[in-house]
Amino acid sequence: MNRTTGDVRILPYSRVVEQDELKLALELNHVVPRIGGVLMAGARGTAKSTLVRAFALMAHAELPVTLPINATDDRVLGGWELDALIRGEARPQPGLLQEADEKGLLYIDEVNLLDDHLVNIILDVVSTGVLSVQREGLATAQHLSFGLVGTMNPEEGGLRPQLLDRFGLMVTTAQLDVGARHRMIRTVLDFEEELGREHSDWLAAADRDDAANRSRLDTARRRVPQTQVPDGIVRLCAEAAERVDAVGQRGEIVATLAARALAALEGAEQVQPEHLLRVLPMALRHRRPETAHGGMFDWGPDDEARVKDLFDTV
């Protein structure tokens, strides 16, 4: 596995402590890519970026296609290889959006700090599914499809509602208790120590666990087409979305897809209400009117109370 791409060192996915909801969201998105991506919001230093990179290394054995906040549009849209041009050769250089199409995922770290002109480009492509480039001697149009995975610290500002809506699921980092904090620090320090060893049982065990995780996800992916979604679940989903005044219909669709992915992960033959109940906050928290316009992302007891009776009566 390409954990140390060059000298890059990323904690193995199976060794990331806690943050179960973040992990679940990434796994659901992997099992059913049509979910359309995951947005992770949380305070600084809560292993958001580490988790995304570790997941990509576990699932795809390579780092995710990453759009940094200060990328230039020639790298996002694609262009020509400069060295080749000077040699008199016209060799196209694919942009990050094309790479993301091949890999299925585009990761944006600090997505809320992304400059507006890049947000506009991404919104254009993800909403139309077409990347049309007519510039600098390029004239191309191609269909692209990829999931967006973003991490952000809400202290540094929010996201435009249009971009927010493009993330299929949204999760927030959990507050860690003393024990979890201790385990997390312990794990990071152990990892750094083990990297210095020639043969590390610790790293070998982590690789085995990552392989088991990958196998579990692959099995779930294969199982998805056989996982039934009863009409009652779809109706339940629509009613829940109505209860929380979800903006648009994307929330219901994503919630249904995520519930199906969860059922597949758990080996169920058909989606049960508890599957839906578990993924509902991820699919709807950023589509509530107050959140879409820059409010808080928390899914609190009030939100739970608004949908709970729907599930009590099932």
Partner: protein, 642 residues
């Protein structure tokens, strides 16, 4: 004393004659050089932040750090200095011309911040003399690089992913720390107060280190094992508050302890090393009554930093853990408003004698407002003039040789090579293209809305319409500060948001929010001042005009210290009003050729004069808000002709 600047013959360092050069390093200098070695050894500790360092010392400290990174006897590279004018193009990429066998070749190479990634040799050093003055591009670079596992750069044809090796040395005043993004500050693992630092010549300073340390700084050391007891000690030292966001502080202290142990040649880092690490960065260490350790290594033989009394110890740590992450203000009836002295005494005031900082996390104690979204590029408006420092949003045919877009230029030239029939790749003047940069907004409207003055009978939109129209037609960016909202996140604090324009749906929603009970007017005025200051500072001359419009009856009932601390106790009396006046006076001192201020009078009695007094402090005018027909029969309200 003469005004000459002597040069130390041994190190070549120039030292001001203002303070006498000490012959031997004192405790602070020793701690500093040891901290720099730790930062050199472990890339995860590669961000060093010095508080209250005298500006004249930044250069010698930078050269000291560069010397440690390079190793004894090796010529050190010039550090990269980042400041208010640092741009993405200068930091991430570097256009290079090379003489090749077929003529001159041109290519884009990794810029100074990433040029050493994945390569052998000494890591480069980036120096930020004043973190608060760093450009947005510089701050964003720091967030991406300092202590990071991975940096990805996709810039101007360059695609780069590697573990960053650049070490960072930054300085800022501790009293300014609260203004900075915690997201940025959090990246700096090694912090210490450098107030009163006196540097002996480099040779003596480095000579005071064990020789093995200097070797380790360039060649590294085996990673020591950190015991569970050590981790427990880290938690004790930093406080047991689990509401603090993230684990970076704990991790940094544990890594520092681990590095100190390794530098001492020990294979295990214990609680003793954690204490030494805490002392190194100036963190308070409660000295338990325990027998003296035997066989104390040089790393752990550090004296405690000077203490400053009540800010240290448990009270300080408790407050420290709350910083930036505790959504629930802890207020209890009868609780003292402040358990300790407020933080205004921390840090150096301009021209004043340096004070000792209580700990390495002054942002936790700061009572200044942090800048609004400091890591975001200013919002862009096409109405303004093209700025030289804005984000690149395109290219155009060059009109002069400034700010050339190299990649576009080469691409343009490539198209014509066959036609030109030259033997070598040729760039002619018609190929030259320059960047088009996003311009900052020319105009800014800051609205301070005191919802508690509106009552049920006044639609203040009429009074605000001229200002909103001005903002709309001028494409002004808008900052809305709300005071006294019903069901706020914290009723003792004003709330604020920035919008691209008045068309943002949040602006209209803010005009009709139900009123609450508390009126933290002083906090609202302070937030407005913050927004204005940032706009003037960041956008420079591009900001042509700004309006501050305050709608209020002037009856603030929340003192500023209550808004800052979130704790209420004792009678408030007129403190809220007085604080609002004080905050207003700061706005009055701003650039009055471009800033216009007006107070919309809510015309409520008693204290109908307050809006006028506030306008006076703000250096602005008063406009009639509530119409005469809306006023009560008992003389409520009045005209503005006073």
């Amino acid at each position: 004393m003469s005004g000459t600047v002597p040069t130390d013959p041994e190190s070549g360092s120039r030292t001001s004659a203002v303070g006498a050069v000490p012959e031997e390093p004192d405790d602070l200098a020793t701690r500093l050089v040891r901290a720099l070695v730790c930062a050199a050894v472990d890339p995860a500790l590669g961000g060093v932040l010095l508080f209250d360092l005298e500006p004249r010392l930044i250069d010698p400290v930078a050269r000291l750090f560069a010397g440690i990174l390079t190793g004894a006897g090796q010529p050190a590279d010039h550090p990269l200095v980042l400041g208010a004018t640092s741009r993405d193009e200068d930091l991430w990429t570097r256009p290079r011309l090379r003489q090749g066998p077929d003529g001159m070749a041109f290519r884009i190479e990794p810029g100074p911040l990433i040029r050493a990634d994945g390569r052998p040799g000494a890591p480069p050093l980036a120096v930020v003399p004043d973190l608060t003055r760093l450009s947005v591009a510089g701050m964003r670079a720091a967030v991406q690089l300092v202590g990071a596992d991975l940096v990805v750069v996709e810039h101007t044809g360059l695609s780069h992913a590697a573990r960053p090796r650049t070490r960072w040395l930054a300085a800022c005043r501790s009293s300014d720390a609260g203004r900075l993004s915690p997201h940025l500050l959090d990246r700096f693992a090694v912090r210490l107060s450098a107030a009163g630092l006196r540097l002996p010549p480099d040779g003596r300073l480095l000579g005071a280190l064990p020789p093995a340390w200097l070797t380790a700084a360039t060649q590294g050391v085996p990673v020591a094992t950190v015991t569970d007891d050590a981790l427990e000690r880290v938690r004790e030292l930093l406080g047991r508050d689990t509401s603090a966001p993230g684990i970076r502080r704990e991790l940094a202290l544990a890594r520092l302890a681990r590095t100190l142990a390794a530098l001492d040649g020990e294979r295990t880092a214990t609680a003793r090393h954690c204490d030494a690490a805490a002392r190194l960065i100036g963190l308070a260490v409660a000295e338990p009554a325990q027998p003296a350790e035997t066989a104390v290594g040089p790393a752990t033989a550090l004296p405690s930093p000077p203490r400053r009394g009540p800010l240290q110890g448990d009270a300080h740590r408790d407050r420290g853990g709350r910083a930036g992450g505790d959504p629930q203000p802890r207020r209890e009836p009868g609780e003292r408003l402040l358990e300790t002295e407020p933080a205004e005494g921390i840090g150096t005031s301009p021209g004043g004698a340096p004070e000792t900082l209580a700990g390495p996390f002054p942002e936790d104690e700061a009572d200044v407002l942090r800048d609004f979204a400091p890591l975001r590029s200013p919002w862009q408006h096409t109405a303004g003039p093209a700025a030289a420092r804005g984000v690149v949003i395109g290219t155009r045919r060059a009109r002069d040789l400034r700010d050339l877009a190299y990649v576009r230029t080469v691409r343009e030239a490539a198209v014509h090579q066959r036609l030109r029939r030259t033997e070598r790749f040729t760039i002619s003047p018609v190929d030259l293209h320059s960047h088009v940069r996003a311009s900052a907004p020319e105009r800014l409207l800051v609205l301070v809305l005191d919802h508690t003055c509106r009552g049920g009978d006044w639609d203040w939109q009429d009074a605000l319409t001229p200002f909103l129209q001005w903002a709309y037609t001028g494409r002004a960016a808008t900052q809305v500060v709300e005071v006294g909202v019903a069901e706020p996140a914290d009723e003792l604090r004003a709330e604020s948001f920035a919008a691209r324009s008045v068309l943002d749906p949040r602006v209209l929603a803010a005009l009709y929010r139900p009123a609450g009970r508390a009126t933290p007017l002083a906090h609202g005025i302070e937030q407005a001042a913050q927004a204005l200051r940032r706009a003037f500072r960041q956008q420079g001359n591009a900001l042509a005009e700004a309006w501050l419009v305050v709608v209020t009856d002037g009856r603030g009932n929340v003192p500023l210290r209550v808004s800052h601390t979130g704790r209420v106790s004792g009678p408030v009396a007129a403190e809220g009003v007085e604080d609002a006046f004080k905050a207003a006076a700061r706005i009055s001192a701003m650039d009055r050729t471009r800033l216009h201020v007006t107070v919309v009078d809510a015309a409520r009695e008693p204290y109908g004069d307050l809006p006028f007094a506030l306008a006076d402090r703000l250096g602005g005018s008063v406009v009639e808000g509530r119409a005469a027909r809306g006023r009560g029969p008992n003389g409520e309200g009045g005209t503005v002709e006073r």
